[in-house]
Symmetry: C2
Subunit: 454 residues, 2 copies
C-alpha cells in the first residue's frame, strides 16, 4: 500500500500541520552525507512527543507503510534513504532536555537534541557529554547508529554512555529500557540491542545519557613523525601503558595538506598524531610527559597547544578534515571509509591500503581514531568518472577483506546502513541469521527502516 | 521426554566417559551459592570444546531435553537449577587460554577459565583482567551473568570488557559475535545481547576479553565516618570530580564487625569506605590527596594501606565479608540482596533499608560498590525460622520497590536467575514482552536454561 488520503488525515489528526510532502523537503530527507543516491520518502512528519511518534508508527504499521526515523541526516552509509517510500519521522522538533541530575551525572533528552545543544546547556554547569563523531548529530541519531569518534579512546562510544532509552516498537508500543542506575543485570540488555540498530528494531525517542565532569585540566599536542609506523608505535606504547589520553588522532600527509590549505594552518606535512589529555593537573602533566618521551623516542616532534583557543583551532581543523579533503579537488565527492582492526595490525593495514591506493591511482587522505584501531580513508572522486568510482569500490573491498582477515570489522563507527549489508554477511556469516531472527521477531512486517542493516 | 538410553549413548559418542549421573555430582550441579533449593539435572557432561558443546546441545534439542550451562556454581539467584531436569554442561574442563595478544591487550579463553587462572597467567606479563565479582567465577559464567564487582567503577563490568563471543545456539549452531576490534558498528550488538542472558539464549563457550595493563602505582585507604550519609557524600563528590578511583567500597558497622572478627582485623567499627587508586604515580598521589581532603571535610578519618600486603589483606577481608557475616550467626544461611540506584538516592536508600531492618527485627550487614550506586544487604537467617525468612522476603520486596521508584534496578549485578523474575516484570513491564519475543525467536523450544530470566 502507498500513502493514502486516509493515512494523511490520520497523521494530521496527530501532528496537525506538522507534516509536508513538498518536493524539497522530501528530497532533503532522502539524502544523508554519503555517496548514496537520494531515496525520498512519501511524506515527512515532525512529531514533538513519544506519543505522537507511537501513533504515527501504529498507523503506518496498520497501513503497511514503512517508517524511516531521521535526525539531521549526517549518516554516511545511506541509513536514512526511504528504499520503499513511506513516512519519514523528522525528530528535530523533539529537542527538549527533559531532566538533568548534576549529582548523578545523567540527563534524559528527547531524540532530536543535538550534541552541541546538549553541551551548550550542560557545559556551564561543569558537565560535558564527550561522545564526538565530528558532525553535530542528534543524540537519537547517535544512539541509533552507536556513534563514537575522537574521544572514544577515553570515554567510550554510545553503547557505554547510554543508560536507558524510550523506544517505539514497529507496532507502536512504547518500551522503556535500562534506567538511571549506573549498572543493571535486569534481563536482556535491550538498551544495547537498540543502540546501533539504525532504526530497524524501533524508533528511539528519548535517551538517558551518562555525563562527565569537565576535567580540571586539558592540554593538547601535535606530534609529527617520519612514518605512519612510528606514529602507530607510539599509539601502541601509550595503550600498553594505559596512559589516560582523551583523544589520539592520526592524520597522514595528504590530510595535513588538506587541513593546512582549508583552515590556514601551518602544520608540518608529515604523519601526525593529535593528542588531548584530560584530568587533574598533575595527571595531565604526567601523562603528557610520558607521551612526549614516547614521541621523542620514536623520532617524532612534540608541540604543545596549551591555550584553549589553540586547542579549539586544532580540533576544529580536525573536525573539518572531511571538507578540507573535498576542497582539494573541487567538484569531487568524498567517500569516507571506515575499518577498525586490532591495534597491532593498524600500521600494516594502513600501509597496505596506501600502497593499494597508489596501485589503483586513487586519492584518499587518511584520518584515524587510532587509539581504537579505527581509521578512515576518504576517497576523493570525480562524480562523472565511473571508472574511478569502480576502482575505489574495489580498493575498499580489498581493505575490508584484509581487516576481516586479522579479526577487524567492516565498520568501526559508521554502521551498516544500506551500503555495507554484503560486508556484514561476510563479517558475521553465522551471526546474520541471529540478527535476522531478531528483526523478524521485533518487526515482522518490516515497517521500520526497510533495507537497512540486515 | 526425559533422558533416554539412546541420548546417553549419543552423548557418550561425543564426550566418551566425560559424563556422570552420580547422585553427588547431580546434587552439586543443581545448587549455587544462594538460598534457592537444589534442582539437580539428570546428567552432567564435561565437554572440552565448542564442537562437543554444539553436538550435545543439538542432541538435547532434538530430544526436547533442557540444557543448563554451569561454570563453578557461584551464582546467587538460582541461575543454574535444572527446573525441568535435563543435561548440565559443566564447562570447567574448557579451561584453555586460546590466544593472548600483549600488543592489543586482548585474550581469547574457553568459557571454563576462571578469573584467578587468567590473572595468574597474564599478571607476570604485566597485564590484568580487572573485573572482580569476589568469587573465583569462570569467565564464561561472568559473561553469561554480566558480572561486575569492586573494580567496575573504574574498569566497567563484563559488557564493557567482552569484545566477542563464541556461542552455541539452542539448535546447536555455532555463532561468533563481535571480534577483536576495539569497537564495531557491524549490525546488532549480539555480544551484549548474550552477555547477561544467563544461558537462556545460547551457551557461551569462548570469550574474547579486553585486558588492562597493571598500573604503575596502586594505593589503598580505609576511611571511617560518623554516618553512612557522610560516606556517601564523599562518594558523590569523588564521582563529580571524576577522580579515577579503581575501587570505592562501603561497609557498614555490622559488616566491619564481621570482618574484624572473621579475619582478625582491627578496623574502627563505623561506616567505612575502602578505596583503591590505580595509575601513574603522580596521578595516584593527586587522586589520593583529593580523596583525603574530601574525607577530612566530611569528618572522616583516612588511613593509608600502601604496602602490597596490607592492601591484599584489606581486599581479602572485603571479599570474605559474606563468609564473615555468616560466621556471626553459626548455623544460619546468608541471603545477599542486590539493588542499584542513582548515586544521589543512595544514602536515602540505605537509610530506609536499615530503618526497615530494625522494624523487621532482621540482621543484615551491608557492603556496597557505592561508586556505582550498588549495595548488598546480606540477611543472616536461621534456616529453621520460616517467619524470619518471610520477614526478609517482605523487607527485600520493599527495598526493591523503593529502588524502582527512584529509577534504580532490582539487580545491579547478580542477575534475574530464578529468584527475580517477578521483579523483572515490575521493572520492565513493557520490555519483558520484547525479551520474551527474543527468547521465542532464538530458543523456540525452551531448550536453554528453562525457567530463568524471562
Amino acid at each position: 500500500m502507498g500513502l493514502s488520503g486516509q493515512l494523511v488525515d490520520e497523521i494530521t489528526a496527530v501532528v496537525g500541520d506538522r507534516w509536508t510532502t513538498s518536493a524539497d523537503e522530501l528530497a532533503r530527507h532522502g539524502q544523508d552525507e554519503s555517496w548514496h543516491l537520494p531515496l525520498p520518502p512519501d511524506l515527512v512528519a515532525y512529531p514533538e512527543t513519544t506519543e505522537e511518534v507511537a501513533s504515527i508508527v501504529a498507523m503506518c504499521h496498520a497501513a503497511a507503510l514503512p517508517v524511516v526515523p531521521f535526525g539531521v541526516g549526517t549518516s554516511l552509509e545511506g541509513g536514512i534513504g526511504a528504499e520503499k517510500g513511506g513516512v519519514c519521522l523528522d525528530l528535530t522538533r523533539m529537542d527538549r532536555i527533559l531532566r538533568l541530575s548534576i549529582d548523578d551525572l545523567d540527563v534524559t533528552v528527547q531524540a532530536g537534541v543535538t550534541r552541541e545543544q546538549l553541551n551548550a546547556d550542560i557545559n556551564p554547569r561543569g558537565l560535558m557529554f564527550p561522545v564526538d563523531p565530528g558532525a553535530n548529530a542528534t543524540i537519537g541519531g547517535m544512539a541509533a547508529t552507536g556513534a563514537s569518534g575522537t574521544t572514544t579512546v577515553r570515554y567510550g562510544a554510545m553503547p557505554h554512555n547510554v543508560l536507558g532509552l524510550t523506544v517505539v516498537m514497529a507496532d507502536g508500543r512504547i518500551v522503556r529500557t535500562g534506567g538511571r542506575a549506573r549498572k543493571t543485570s535486569a534481563g536482556y540488555d535491550l538498551t544495547r540491542l537498540f543502540v546501533g540498530s539504525e532504526g530497524t528494531l524501533g524508533v528511539i525517542t528519548e535517551v538517558t545519557l551518562r555525563l562527565w565532569p569537565i576535567p580540571e585540566a586539558i592540554a593538547a599536542a601535535t606530534c609529527a613523525f617520519d612514518s605512519i609506523d612510528s606514529a602507530v608505535d607510539v599509539v601502541i606504547a601509550a595503550t600498553q601503558m594505559a596512559l589516560p589520553v582523551a583523544r589520539m588522532e592520526l592524520l597522514d600527509e595528504a590530510a595535513i595538506e588538506a587541513v593546512n590549505a582549508f583552515d590556514d594552518m601551518d602544520l608540518t606535512v608529515a604523519p601526525t598524531l593529535f593528542f588531548e589529555f584530560h584530568g587533574m593537573t598533575a595527571a595531565v602533566d604526567a601523562c603528557a610527559d610520558e607521551i612526549q618521551a614516547l614521541v621523542t623516542d620514536a623520532g617524532g616532534t612534540f608541540a604543545w597547544a596549551v591555550e584553549a583557543e589553540d586547542r579549539s583551532r586544532l580540533w576544529h581543523a580536525r573536525h573539518r578534515a572531511y571538507w578540507a579533503m573535498l576542497a582539494m579537488r573541487p567538484g569531487c565527492k568524498g567517500w569516507p571509509t571506515d575499518v577498525c582492526v586490532p591495534i597491532s595490525e593498524l600500521a600494516q593495514a594502513i600501509r597496505k591500503a596506501q600502497y593499494d591506493l597508489e596501485e589503483s591511482n586513487l586519492s584518499a587522505p587518511l584520518v584515524g581514531h587510532v587509539g581504537d584501531g579505527n581509521f578512515h580513508l576518504c576517497y576523493i572522486i570525480d562524480p562523472n568518472d565511473a571508472d574511478e568510482f569502480a576502482r575505489a569500490e574495489a580498493h575498499y573491498e580489498r581493505m575490508i577483506a584484509r581487516a576481516l582477515a586479522v579479526g577487524g570489522t567492516c565498520t568501526g563507527e559508521h554502521g551498516i546502513g544500506a551500503g555495507k549489508r554484503d560486508f556484514l554477511r561476510r563479517e558475521h556469516p553465522e551471526g546474520i541469521d541471529v540478527m535476522l531472527a531478531i528483526k523478524a521477531a521485533l518487526d515482522p512486517t518490516t515497517t521500520l527502516n526497510p533495507g537497512k542493516v540486515v
